[in-house]
């Protein structure tokens, strides 16, 4: 497959991803890599149309039709590079020989509107609480196997480490 920008028909990865919309953002959790990404509206629109049949030029046209605004092809290429970096495409985008990659700053200078730049941000948050119970298995039936603090008592052979 030609994965360079000219003939590339990107396909959004589906397997191993969990997707949820939240307040205008598309959140994508990669279960295989244990990473979560946040796609802004522009990035989400491009990613949703990566069906494996549309070229970059066609994606640009689709984006123009959906937003009602003129879209530079560099915007789509920028988004695809971001998707590639975050493993959100089935096949990665590879740059053509001599192709110049625009940075976000250059893209803003070229396009003019920061809001229309596709953004893919990896979610980094403080460790958030997730409630769970004492559920560690103690296969030998011995409390020695119960190494989780607070769950010291084995419920029996093949059982679970319990609090008491």
């Amino acid at each position: 497959m030609n994965n360079t920008t000219n003939g590339f028909k990107p396909r959004a990865r589906k397997a191993g991803l969990v997707v949820r919309e939240l307040s205008g953002e598309l959140l994508v959790y990669d279960r295989e890599r244990n990473q979560a990404h946040s796609l802004n509206e522009t990035a989400a629109l491009i990613w949703k149309h990566c069906d494996g049949h549309s070229t970059i030029a066609e994606l640009r046209s689709t984006l123009e039709a959906e937003t009602g605004a003129s879209v530079d092809e560099q915007v789509v290429r920028y988004a695809l590079r971001k998707f590639t970096r975050s493993s959100l495409l089935e096949e990665p985008l590879r740059a053509s020989v001599g192709e110049r990659r625009l940075s976000r700053r250059e893209l803003i200078q070229t396009i003019g509107l920061a809001a229309s730049i596709p953004l893919v941000v990896t979610i980094i948050a403080p460790d958030v609480f997730a409630a769970a119970s004492c559920t560690q298995a103690c296969p030998s039936g011995s409390p020695v196997e119960c190494t989780v603090p607070g769950c010291p008592v084995c419920s029996g052979v093949g059982g679970t480490c319990r609090a008491s």
Binding site: N34, A36, A125, F129, A132, A137, S142, P143, V153, V157
Partner: protein, 390 residues
């Protein structure tokens, strides 16, 4: 019981408060309404900040940024960051750095919820194919009552099965396919809840999650379960009281309070007090319920204990997770026994419920001593059991 690998993104970790701003906070009007004696505490600040935060249009908070910064570790560490985010998303703090932390945590909760919902449909289908019909309680079963399931994080899937189906369920969850789910499988139902597994099944109902029907307890049983769970664990997590508030406010018009409160007067009073706490501390609407009067006569120790607990709402700070070692270790090596014994002194709420005591105005220490004695007796019985393996 089954516990598969928990992705590090969702791993439970206690959050230590670090340098908290101990400056006396300016109290929100809601806090004054709650008329709490310990109004300068961080627990009271959390209560005022989470006021009606579960509602679709949560009221905007007027909290100061330094106050918010002081309680952010407590909110994040106890799973309430998404609810907190709901309180400030339209407030003067929405663009602050502290708000950004809550927004990030909310995003994480959202992907967390999506992943768990996928797992719930998969594991229930897997169990059904093996002839097991589980009931899902807590976790998603309560998160679905919120305007968005991302507001209420959870870390495992609590499934209840009849004793006759337990071994089949265990086999399924031990299989290569079943191992990937984080399931807390319960054999039957805890008799201390005052509901038999048969009654729980009989009254349960099916609700849709994606294309799968999930069996959950009826609203009455679920509110009862949430209240008793909140008390049995010493009320230390603010999110649990929000759960009770949501369950009360989203109840159907035909909600049967007789089923919810049950026939045991003491247990009914505990449930009424839990709902009363949700009203007094978090502003839950309880008009038209049979607990309105009880909500106005809650014992002072109950409110102050809940707020005290909320100053350290981390699982790592709570028993039994904060125990240094199992008691059996001290039989071999008594070093550290006394300091660990202090950690095991039960909180007043947990001790009262554990010993079956009333929620009245009498001191709590007899119940706390009672719980210690019962636990010691159980420990000795277990240790001296002739068929003990180790």
């Amino acid at each position: 019981m089954h516990r598969s690998r928990v992705p590090s993104l969702f791993r439970c970790r206690g959050y230590l408060p670090g340098q908290l701003n101990r400056e006396r906070p300016t109290l929100a009007p809601y806090l004054r309404m709650a008329s709490m004696a310990t109004s300068s505490s961080l627990g009271a600040l959390i209560a005022s900040f989470l006021f009606q935060s579960w509602r679709a249009h949560a009221p905007s908070s007027q909290i100061r940024e330094e106050e918010l910064a002081a309680i952010i570790p407590l909110l994040t560490g106890s799973g309430a960051s998404a609810l907190a985010n709901a309180r400030i998303r339209d407030s003067h703090l929405r663009d602050s750095t502290t708000a950004a932390q809550l927004q990030q945590a909310h995003r994480l909760h959202a992907v967390h919820a999506a992943a768990f919902e996928e797992d719930i449909t998969s594991v229930i289908t897997l169990l059904r194919n093996a002839g097991v019909e589980p009931i899902l309680a807590k976790g998603w079963a309560v998160a679905r009552l919120y305007p968005d399931t991302s507001l209420r994080p959870y870390g495992d899937i609590d499934l209840y099965v009849p004793p006759g189906q337990y071994s089949s369920a265990m086999r399924v969850l031990a299989s290569s396919e079943g191992k990937r789910f984080v399931v807390d499988l319960h054999e039957g139902f805890d008799s201390s809840e005052g509901i038999s597994i048969d009654a729980l099944y009989e009254r349960s109902r099916l609700v849709s999650l994606a294309d799968v029907k999930v069996r959950v307890p009826c609203d009455e049983d679920h509110l009862r379960i949430l209240c008793l769970h909140f008390l049995r664990h010493g009320a230390w997590r603010p999110l649990w009281l929000c759960d009770i508030a949501v369950a009360v406010e989203t109840r159907a018009p035909e909600f049967d309070w007789d089923i919810c409160l049950g026939t045991n007067p003491r247990r009914a009073d505990w449930i009424a007090c839990s709902i009363g706490l949700a009203h007094r501390l978090l502003g839950a609407e309880i008009a038209g319920t049979p607990v309105v009067d009880r909500a106005q006569t809650l014992p002072a120790w109950l409110i102050s204990n809940v707020l005290k607990q909320w100053e350290t709402p981390y699982s790592m700070s709570q028993p039994p997770v904060n125990y240094a070692a199992p008691m059996s270790k001290y039989l071999r090596d008594p070093r550290g026994f006394l300091s660990d014994l202090r950690r095991r002194w039960p909180n007043a709420i947990e001790a009262t419920v554990y010993t079956g005591g009333p929620f009245n105005d009498l001191p709590r220490w007899p119940f706390q001593i009672g719980e210690c004695m019962i636990r010691t007796g159980k420990f000795l019985a277990r240790t001296l059991r002739p068929d003990r393996d180790d």
